[in-house]
């Protein structure tokens, strides 16, 4: 058996063991957070009763009435609730992520145009990056309310700061040899940016992108925790008010699944963009996604 296959099988085995331990804990500790709601719900409860209870978050439509309108809890309603709230969260996440990446990248490239501007922004950027970003969410709510715009802009701000500093650093670290070589070939500054700096900075920018993905997920959930009317973060925080640990756990699993998918998709896409590099250098530097 190949070593990587054995490693994957062991990893899978560990996850199965963790799931089994959760089940064991649910049997050994049959406490309740509120009457009728187990503190550690077993899998048989999670995939049946708990999943069904997510139908409470379906607003109605598509032939499935909402529970608030007097409709029964159905699996179809629960599935639609998960899908619609996942859609809302994803829309906020990817709108903010796209905006943050675009603004951070363009601003970073613009500042990197001259060594002087790079030096002027280095210190403020370093300080802003150290700012406790999550503590700023009440300000965004004050400015924009608990709206889609406010939440998306909060994600964009969190991502933009990382991307801006990441871009400035990455451009600064592009080897002079590459730039000088292009210059001796008569390339203009714009051509150098397009043909040398952008491709050469991407490997270093991968860390910033991975960090941005983690930050974006955290930011969107933080925003939804404080006042959103829809979204997966809002389900968790409402479930917490009423002590529904099972709902919280199930939604957390959905979020874990979505976050893992976004990481995996990025890995696959970025691997293609760095095919020209020696493999060791192209290995992603994944850390620090809060």
């Amino acid at each position: 058996m190949k070593r990587t296959t054995a490693h994957r099988l062991t990893s899978f085995g560990v996850l199965v063991v963790l799931a089994a331990l959760w089940q064991l804990a649910s049997i050994l500790m049959p406490y309740e957070s509120v009457p009728g709601e187990p503190m550690i719900p077993g899998w048989q409860i999670l995939v049946t009763r708990t999943f069904l209870s997510l139908a409470d978050y379906w607003q109605g439509g598509l032939g499935v009435p909402s529970v608030a309108q007097g409709g029964p809890r159905t699996y179809a309603g629960a599935a639609l609730a998960v899908l619609s709230n996942s859609w809302d969260t994803s829309l906020r996440l990817f709108t903010g992520l796209t905006l943050g990446v675009a603004v951070g990248l363009v601003a970073g490239l613009a500042v990197s145009w001259s060594k002087w501007s790079r030096r002027i922004v280095a210190l403020p950027a370093q300080i802003i990056r150290t700012f406790p970003m999550l503590a700023l969410i009440p300000m965004f709510q004050l400015w924009f309310g608990a709206t889609f715009l406010g939440m998306a802009l909060f994600v964009a701000f969190a991502v933009g700061v990382i991307f801006f500093t990441g871009t400035v650093n990455a451009v600064g670290n592009v080897s002079d040899i590459h730039v000088d070589y292009a210059r001796t070939q008569g390339a203009s500054r714009i051509q150098i940016y397009r043909s040398v700096i952008l491709p050469a900075m991407f490997p270093e920018l991968r860390s910033s992108i991975l960090l941005s993905l983690g930050t974006a997920w955290t930011a969107v959930i933080a925003a939804e925790f404080l006042g959103a009317q829809t979204g997966l973060g809002q389900i968790i925080v409402f479930a917490q008010y009423f002590g529904y640990v099972g709902r919280m756990f199930l939604v957390a699993l959905f979020l874990l699944f979505y976050a893992a998918i976004t990481y995996a998709l990025f890995e696959r896409a970025s691997r293609r963009l760095t095919e020209w590099m020696p493999r060791e250098l192209a290995t992603p530097d994944r850390y620090g996604a809060p």
């Binding site: 490693h7 062991t10 990893s11 899978f12 560990v14 996850l15 963790l18 957070s33 503190m39 002087w116 030096r119 002027i120 922004v121 280095a122 210190l123 403020p124 300080i127 990056r129 150290t130 700012f131 406790p132 970003m133 999550l134 503590a135 700023l136 969410i137 009440p138 300000m139 709510q141 004050l142 400015w143 983690g214 997920w217 955290t218 959930i221 933080a222 925790f225 404080l226 973060g233 968790i236 925080v237 479930a239 917490q240 002590g243 640990v245 919280m248 756990f249 939604v251 957390a252 979020l255 874990l256 976050a259 893992a260 990481y263 994944r286 850390y287 620090g288 996604a289 809060p290």
Partner: protein
């Protein structure tokens, strides 16, 4: 020209960076002074500075909101102590597990899926669980921070130990070092610079996370101040709390960076 560049490089802070920082404050002042944004949306820097000085060491205003009589400093002390305790625990646990996983393949196979799962999940999702299990006590916030910090320190320690040139271990063994000496004198020292990088990243993220977990529920702390003041629409005090926390975060980052540089002063630095 070369002499000027050299003397600028020797300064602890780039003067142009200071100009950039002043320009940022001037922009903030201009936006609030000329009413591009309302005072509620963006309080002026002078007002925020006044709010900090008036409420720093004691504040009957904050006491009205059950935030203690210690003012911003008392709440900062709560936040700082949580962050420092969590980081200290995480350093011990994360480094030990990271080193062990780098050297023992079987242990790595078990630890990696757990740590990568913890690293993949948006950490805030776990906050409500800790609130239910531990209540709004200090332990809920510390547990959240430990989970976040341990994951980062573990990954950095693992990578640092794995990247360590085996020649050092071989040289240590040749010189008669036992397993404990190898760990303390080779692995620990050799991996320190990279592990320190991870600790700084963990610390930088921990401030915001702590503040947010306090926002969700805590007896005191800067996050609680932000929450109470935001509910009162007192943006000046919200800014004051955020600015003091940011100042603490920057000061800790600079202090820890300096301390790490001193501890690893034996390191050969790149001459650029």
């Amino acid at each position: 020209m070369a002499r000027t560049s050299l003397s600028v490089a020797r300064l602890p802070v780039d003067p142009l960076g200071i100009i950039g920082l002043l320009a940022l404050v001037a922009l903030w002042w201009g936006l609030s002074q000329f009413h591009f944004l309302s005072r509620l949306a963006l309080p002026p820097p002078a007002g925020v500075a006044a709010a900090i000085t008036q409420n720093f060491f004691s504040s009957s205003y904050l006491a009205n909101y059950h935030l203690g009589y210690g003012g911003l400093a008392g709440n900062l002390a709560y936040t700082i102590s949580n962050v420092v305790v969590a980081l200290a625990v995480s350093c011990v646990v994360g480094v030990a597990l990271g080193f062990a996983s780098a050297r023992v393949e079987l242990f790595r196979a078990f630890a990696d899926p757990i740590m990568l799962t913890a690293g993949t999940i948006p950490i805030l999702v776990t906050a409500p669980f800790f609130l239910i299990w531990f209540g709004t006590s200090r332990s809920a916030q510390i547990a959240l921070l430990i989970l976040f910090d341990v994951t980062i320190v573990y990954l950095f320690a693992q990578r640092a130990a794995a990247n360590l040139d085996p020649t050092y271990v071989a040289a240590g063994r040749t010189l008669g070092a036992g397993p404990m000496r190898i760990v303390s004198d080779v692995y620990l020292k050799g991996a320190l610079p990279e592990v320190f990088g991870g600790i700084r990243i963990a610390l930088a993220g921990a401030w915001g996370l702590e503040a947010f977990s306090e926002l969700l529920g805590a007896p005191k702390g800067v996050g609680r101040v932000i929450q109470a003041m935001a509910a009162e629409m007192d943006s000046q005090m919200v800014f004051a709390a955020i600015m003091t926390l940011a100042a603490v975060a920057v000061a800790f980052d600079v202090a820890i960076g300096g301390a790490f540089d001193f501890i690893t002063r034996w390191r050969r630095r790149a001459r650029l």
